[in-house]
């Protein structure tokens, strides 16, 4: 007969608070709760409808002005010590709803957050991974390790965005289309620096869709849960270095092969030369080239 050598971890109870979400994270939480395949129960975790019985608090939504009173009163009912988990980018950074008169988030301005689970919404597997992390914190760093459960991530999952500075031309289209305000460009002496904050990223992939050179691509990496202390380290960064035009010497951003391929159909020895020129010198050179052809 097989026996379980590891004694089961004591039960912990989870309490959910919706602070005015779009319901995406809440519906995913409902699925996480309902379906045993995601493995919450095996981690010794169950949901309670009574805040005074809870150990862990799960928070969704950006905290609307209207919900603040009820939310904070409910939160206060959960006895201390408690572990607070923010689910989805809304409570972590304000997400898509930042800068509204009706939204007060991020939540860590009002309460002590412990674990953040970014995503919009995060998949149930990510939610469980974050909650497992929270449960380990509650148990003083001990407790069952998470076994992989749920569905394997599909090939074109939109998870963590990845950035390649060597393919970036600094056109800033990604920043223009980003609804979460997750992307920042900064002019520096050495070049243009790019920063993408995963705690504000909506997983929509608009940046990669409109990126003309493929500098931004979504990866299948979905487990971005992290302790609150790492909140501002969750970034994707890179610098596009400034080089000098090989003809006039003016500082310029490098023209990447992806863009040359778009402009000139194929890469040749000539396009390789054009690539080292600033836009004005390039114009002169390529028009000159054209004249040679017609003669």
């Amino acid at each position: 007969m097989h026996t379980c050598k590891v004694p089961p971890a004591p039960k912990l109870r989870l309490y959910r608070i919706n602070t005015g979400s779009c319901n995406g994270c809440d519906v995913e939480l409902a699925a996480t709760e309902a379906l045993t395949r995601f493995g919450l129960e095996r981690l010794g975790l169950s949901f309670t409808a009574d805040p005074t019985q809870a150990d862990l608090v799960l928070i969704t939504g950006p905290l609307t002005v209207r919900s603040k009173g009820k939310v904070l009163a409910e939160y206060a009912q959960v006895p201390d010590p408690k572990i607070t988990v923010l689910i989805g980018v809304c409570p972590i950074s304000g997400g898509a709803f930042r800068d509204s008169y009706a939204v007060l988030g991020p939540l860590d301005e009002f309460l002590a957050a412990d674990v953040n689970i970014p995503g919009c919404p995060p998949r149930p597997e990510a939610i469980v991974a974050g909650i497992a992390e929270a449960a380990r914190l509650w148990r003083g760093g001990e407790g069952p390790q998470l076994a992989p459960a749920g569905f394997p991530a599909p090939a074109n999952l939109r998870g963590r965005m990845s950035y390649r500075a060597e393919a970036c031309v600094g056109c800033r289209m990604c920043q223009h289309v980003c609804a979460g305000g997750a992307i920042r460009f900064e002019e520096q002496e050495a070049g243009v620096s790019f920063t993408l904050w995963h705690n504000s990223c909506l997983f929509c992939g608009m940046c990669s869709h409109y990126c003309p050179t493929g500098a931004l691509t979504p990866t299948g990496e979905w487990n971005l849960a992290h302790p609150q202390a790492q909140k501002y380290q969750m970034v994707e960064q890179g610098v596009v270095p400034r080089i000098s035009c090989s003809c006039c010497g003016v500082p310029m951003l490098p023209v990447v092969p992806e863009l040359m391929r778009k402009g000139y159909r194929a890469l040749t020895r000539e396009t390789a030369q054009l690539q080292t020129l600033c836009s004005e010198c390039r114009q002169v050179r390529s028009i000159g080239g054209l004249q040679r052809c017609t003669k």
Binding site: G20, A34, C120, F151, M206
Partner: protein
């Protein structure tokens, strides 16, 4: 008989979203209802004016995550109308596929909640399990289980290859007989029937008076479905019957939704079979001129109307919605009148209220 007023919140109502009711009762019966809205008010009208058209596609998908595809697809339709763009036929079909796959997931979620409220916990889990087939399909085809990011101005952002189409067809096949069985359970199972038949009735006359839409209207015998009345996208090339019931009770609403979930499977299959070759989006994005436009679609909860005003820049001047849950929850007072207090959660969930759409 004593009259009292009680306040019910999401926990008592069995809702995922915060919504509060002030209910007047006489004995154990409901005699009046006041909806205390606004908990999910995120200032969306204000936000959409601060975001450009591209950002608004993503923002609007988060107006509500259960009907998330209906919002960006209707918004894109409005922009395309203003700009005089005709999207490629392949994109029209793929938009319908995205809308219908979301419809199945949304209707199944409501079905599961109704089962949960009447105490059928095994059925609740079964429906949630079935819904996972849809969630898994969305994640595999689109890359996210809730917010598909399927739309862009001028078309769609996904182009399924033969492998993806085969996969989706296979997933649809897996849904067919469980969906059929689920319909029979909601139609015939004694417990469900006893709990839902004749409960929370909204007559045809009342339905007309309140202007309710979607499954709530169709359950009361009103033949109104935007996909048929004013077909948009690929819907004029797809064959389906508008799902109609007559009783106007909780059972009828559940049956309409389940019929529509089955129909959605067939609609996606038709789309995949007829799917024309060609591009999925227009290559260029012409300027959107100044103007105003109305676009509408049949979201899972009913008719969704977009009003958009532009001034030639890429920021909207005004964007306003008429969401289906708005007229539907106004009619809740009629459905609840004279019902026992204990039935409030069931009746409220039978209109599948979307708080985030309505409060926005």
């Amino acid at each position: 008989m004593s009259r009292t007023v009680i306040t019910l919140g999401p926990r008592q109502l069995g809702l995922e979203e915060p919504m509060y009711f002030r209910v007047q009762t006489e004995g154990d019966r409901v005699c009046g209802l006041e909806v205390l809205a606004g908990q999910v008010h995120r200032g969306m009208e204000h936000l959409t004016l601060k975001r450009n058209f591209y950002q608004n596609i993503t923002l609007l998908e988060r107006l509500c995550s259960l009907c998330s595809n209906s919002h960006p697809s209707t918004f894109c339709t409005a922009l395309e109308e203003l700009a005089g763009m005709v999207i490629p036929p392949r994109a029209e079909y793929l938009r319908a596929v995205a809308d219908e796959i979301k419809r199945i997931a949304s209707h199944l979620f409501n079905c599961a909640v109704v089962a949960h409220i009447v105490g059928e916990h095994t059925l609740f889990r079964r429906v949630m399990e079935l819904r996972e087939i849809v969630q898994q399909s969305k994640e595999t085809i689109y890359g996210n289980r809730m917010d598909l990011a399927a739309n862009c101005i001028g078309g769609v952002r996904y182009d399924p290859d033969a492998g993806a189409i085969d996969y989706l067809k296979n997933q649809l096949e897996r849904l067919k007989s469980p969906l059929e069985e689920l319909y029979r359970v909601f139609e015939d199972a004694a417990v469900l029937r006893a709990a839902t038949e004749g409960v929370g009735v909204l007559t045809r006359e009342q339905a007309n008076e309140f202007g309710v839409v979607g499954p709530v209207a169709r359950a009361a015998g009103i033949d109104y479905d935007v996909r048929k009345k004013s077909p948009y996208g690929a819907y004029d090339r797809l064959s389906f019957q508008v799902a109609i019931e007559g009783a106007g009770d909780v059972r009828a609403r559940a049956l309409v939704r389940l019929a529509e979930a089955r129909q959605a499977v067939s609609l996606i299959e038709q789309c995949l079979d007829q799917l024309p070759n060609g591009p999925v989006a227009l290559a260029s994005f012409p300027e959107v001129p100044a103007g105003e436009v109305i676009a509408k679609s049949e979201a899972p909860r009913g008719e969704l109307i977009y009003y958009l005003k532009t001034d030639g820049t890429d920021l909207p001047v005004r964007l306003k919605w008429r969401v289906p849950s708005y007229p539907n929850w106004a009619a809740l007072g009629e459905m609840l009148k004279g019902e026992p207090v204990s039935r409030i959660p069931l009746i409220v969930n039978s209109i599948d209220p979307c708080i985030s759409c309505t409060d926005r």
